[in-house]
């Protein structure tokens, strides 16, 4: 599974990077470490009609986009 590490980044960068990565790969795991990035990446993926799920891993989240 392709993994995109957006930890340490603030919005809108994680959304921009997710958009680029989804152009190359239909399925993706995105790692984020703040709530705004979590929510905004989820919104972007949902708007692209993807199935989105997020699980907390310590102080960050893994967002799976399928």
């Amino acid at each position: 599974m392709k993994e995109l590490d957006c930890r340490g980044l603030s919005c809108p960068e994680p959304v921009v990077m997710t958009k680029k990565a989804l152009m190359e790969s239909a399925e993706l795991d995105v790692l984020v470490d703040n709530r705004a990035s979590l929510e905004n990446v989820k919104r972007y993926a949902s708007a692209m009609k993807k199935a989105v799920d997020a699980v907390q891993e310590g102080s960050s989240w893994r967002i799976s986009i399928r």
Partner: protein, 335 residues
């Protein structure tokens, strides 16, 4: 580096009023500090008003406010105009006339000085349009550019508008469209189209001067402006200070084209801290996620939010977005 190579928004982490410290953090610090009441200060920070009000004792009051932030647009002159319009707005939000201002500048040493020149040129022009003179300022070297003004204005001490005073039955009027923070977040992500950016920039660089002078012809019961704490946040401050509930109708809200970018996740970080701070004070349960994102997102240089008798509302160019009712357990409800 040439000025044309500079993308101001790439130099900063957050921009415009999105850069405000989370409201809950500020609140906890302010509450932990000693206060020394001064009888001449008619309104200070404890009422969350836009400027403090100092009674000059001759029927006039002096209003003072300060506001500065990192750039949300790449054009330095436009940034200066927006920063000035935003800072001066706090004087208009209290019914005053801006008179003099000091500029506050943080500027990276690696940038061409022509950028600083253009920021200040924009601010001077906008202040002049407001009848306000920038008479001095202070500049420090910093990694991220920031600009703003400390503004002094004057008003009749009997006619200063505050957050408190909204009355049951009042109409609630907003004088600018919502969505500047969302549009500027989309711009930072290079997603926003030129038309949406232009509309938002035009809104941000517009002074609240005309709205203020129109509102002076009305019986204003309470007033503020909509900036970093979002429409719901600022309405909540007004409702709490007035002991009422402000009921807003989402369908009546004027929206910028760029507000649609919220759907793609271009939402300022402040939207989430605003929600945390408001907690149970706002009832947004009737709204969709997109609608909540819009009403909770920070605005930069937003419009005046006025509470006034319904029959006066037509005297102001703006939108009636709701009304004031008796306190029903929530400061704000949006349906």
């Amino acid at each position: 580096m040439e000025e044309g190579d500079v993308r101001l928004t790439d130099l900063v982490r957050s921009s415009g009023c999105n850069a405000k410290l989370p409201p809950g953090d500020l609140d906890s610090v302010l509450r932990s500090l000693p206060s020394f009441p001064d009888p001449a200060i008619l309104a200070g920070y404890e009422t969350a008003d836009d400027a403090f009000v100092y009674d000059l004792g001759d029927g006039r009051a002096m209003l003072q406010t300060v506001d500065f932030f990192p750039p949300m647009v790449d054009d330095p002159q436009l940034f200066g105009e927006i920063a000035a319009a935003n800072a001066i707005s706090d004087i208009y939000a209290m019914g005053g006339e801006p008179s003099v201002a000091l500029s506050i500048v943080c500027f990276p040493s690696c940038l061409p000085l022509s950028v600083l020149h253009d920021i200040m040129l924009g601010a001077i022009g906008k202040a002049r349009e407001a009848g306000c003179t920038i008479a001095g300022g202070h500049t420090i070297s910093d990694r991220e550019p920031k600009f703003g003004l400390a503004v002094t204005g004057f008003a009749d001490s009997g006619h200063v508008w505050q957050n408190r005073g909204a009355r049951e039955g009042d109409a609630v009027v907003l004088t600018k469209k919502l969505g500047t923070g969302i549009t500027m977040t989309a711009l930072k992500g290079r997603e926003a189209d030129a038309g949406s950016v232009e509309e938002a920039v035009e809104s941000m660089r517009t002074l609240n001067r005309k709205a203020c002078s129109q509102a002076r012809r009305c019986r204003i019961h309470a007033a503020t402006d909509v900036t970093g704490f979002s429409l719901v946040g600022h309405a909540s401050e007004m409702a709490t200070a007035s002991g009422v509930t402000i009921e807003l109708s989402f369908g009546s809200l004027p929206l910028l084209e760029g507000a649609r970018y919220a759907e793609l996740g271009f939402i300022p970080e402040g939207r989430y801290t605003n929600e945390d701070f408001l907690g149970s004070k706002a009832d947004l349960s009737a709204l969709s996620q997109l609608e909540r994102d819009i009403v909770l997102s920070p605005e930069t240089s937003g419009g005046l939010l006025l509470s006034l008798p319904e029959e006066d509302a037509h005297l102001v160019d703006g939108w009636v977005i709701g009304h004031v009712s008796g306190y029903s357990g929530k400061a704000v409800a949006v349906r």
